[in-house]
Symmetry: C2
Subunit: 335 residues, 2 copies
Amino acid sequence: MSKIFLTDTTLRDGSHTVSHQFNPDDVMKVAAALENAGVNLIEIGHGDGLTGSTINYGFSKYSDFDLISAASSVLTKSKLTVLLIPGIGTVEDLEMVRKCGAKAVRVATHVTEADISEQHIKAAKDMGLFTVGFLMMSHMASVERVTEEALKMESYGADVVYVTDSGGAMLPKDVAAKIGSLKKNLKVPIGHHAHNNLGLAVSNSLTAIEAGATYIDGCLSGLGAGAGNTPTEMLIATFDKMGYEHDGNLYKAMDASEDVLKPIVEGKGLKLKTNSNSLMIGYAGVYSSFMLHAQRAAARFGVDARDILMELGRRKAVGGQEDWIIDVAYELAHK
Amino acid sequence: MSKIFLTDTTLRDGSHTVSHQFNPDDVMKVAAALENAGVNLIEIGHGDGLTGSTINYGFSKYSDFDLISAASSVLTKSKLTVLLIPGIGTVEDLEMVRKCGAKAVRVATHVTEADISEQHIKAAKDMGLFTVGFLMMSHMASVERVTEEALKMESYGADVVYVTDSGGAMLPKDVAAKIGSLKKNLKVPIGHHAHNNLGLAVSNSLTAIEAGATYIDGCLSGLGAGAGNTPTEMLIATFDKMGYEHDGNLYKAMDASEDVLKPIVEGKGLKLKTNSNSLMIGYAGVYSSFMLHAQRAAARFGVDARDILMELGRRKAVGGQEDWIIDVAYELAHK
């Protein structure tokens, strides 16, 4: 199994959720936390792509250029990427964001309209940007048609081509068929971007990987348009449990969600969609009633409650063995 | 593929979410809406099982007997079921709820302790109840051990045996292996109960069905302990899209969630976890921006916005074809 590369789009697809009101300070904090969590590509800008801030798509509070410059000032490892929809963003916009620090671009078209990405993909490659082709609403075309359009993007020079389930409408078998066909017919790596409308975002991402995808998208806590994207921290948790090679760090992704994104989102009157405590219960495989005891023991012994839960999972503790929690906390504090 | 039977546990596992404060009126409304939506078994009672209302597990506002009598008074087709954990509930309690109208019981034990279900499963069968064996925390035991314990429940007389992922800790491959082994080794039907901690509840349910399970659990809007259960309406939506045979009705399940459960839950200061509009977008496979236009056209022409979206999905409408929405609404109103 090849290494998986994570793209987090909290600051782009997630910007729909906050009506494009992220400010440069929000963006710097979230981008830094995502880099710290090992995310490979961090996407930033208006939800509808570069310079989408219009009366049609909703005005951003700050220009994409301001936000990208802010993020760029804090990133050293992760690639800063933008989304460009030909017809909304232009080659000139792309040249501008490159100067602001963008290292990559995802050129997005409707699944049957890859033709209109040619000029932008070629221009992006000429600028030295890492360039991704992004086939939106991929559920609407047949396997053959998606493959044909993906081959076009590859021929224009795309470094990666994505099957993008913009409507969250794809079943696992549909993901497997389309990703599998791209894997077979293209030379470049394949990516998958899911939405959670049918509750299948995490598993469709895993199905995509099994079928050959190596680029996968998420948002912290599943922020994102409509039902939201795949929660980045759930992707990292399931990648760990599946034994995939990746750069993500689960605890740091949870912290990015709970400590960094949550106050920003709540400050705008909204709530996160997920809860890291319940994710941790599933990850460690322990009783949910252990959480409160583990948090108390963690505070008392100065250890991480999550490490306690992981050890309880390894020991296969069951209900009634809550006394083990203190033992484990003590051992963790003294090792 | 065999027919799938849905059990909804909004009024039992979901009662954790409302701290066991459902009242008889809530229960009657939700149970009637679930029956109307084609749910086969409706589970009612304290989250921790029959007579779980104690200082340990949290007191219910109303006794299980009151809630079950209330639900029983409105049900004619769906089987009213209770959950019984030996050690919390007793055979006497079971006799009482049978008199109140329960037609089924799920006898639940830790995955390695099926032995303690013998007396209760046999007593339930003697009372003429439809009896389900429920192996909780099934992620903690090996495939061989789960199979061994399931065979015990079958030998006591269970009509169905469940692999219950109480911690939401199972990966798709784990579900496939355990359900597959039970299917191979038991004669009775197999069930699966998922939690959404890793975001895999819907897909694990589909994986269970592919591996041979025919009994699947959900809660409206994914209400339920911790990260919640599998959203019943997402199960019905994916069953439809997969072409499975089942009795569920998607629109009525969405209505049960939005029109019946939502005001009850919001009245207790909580929010639903899902949104039927975004589910509908994924189900119909259309642009999320179509929703508002479809709702306006639906109001103007007196049709269901969901039917408009379904027709737009069939016609493969794309962004920019919003004018089709009026055409479709007009046609639906005049056919």
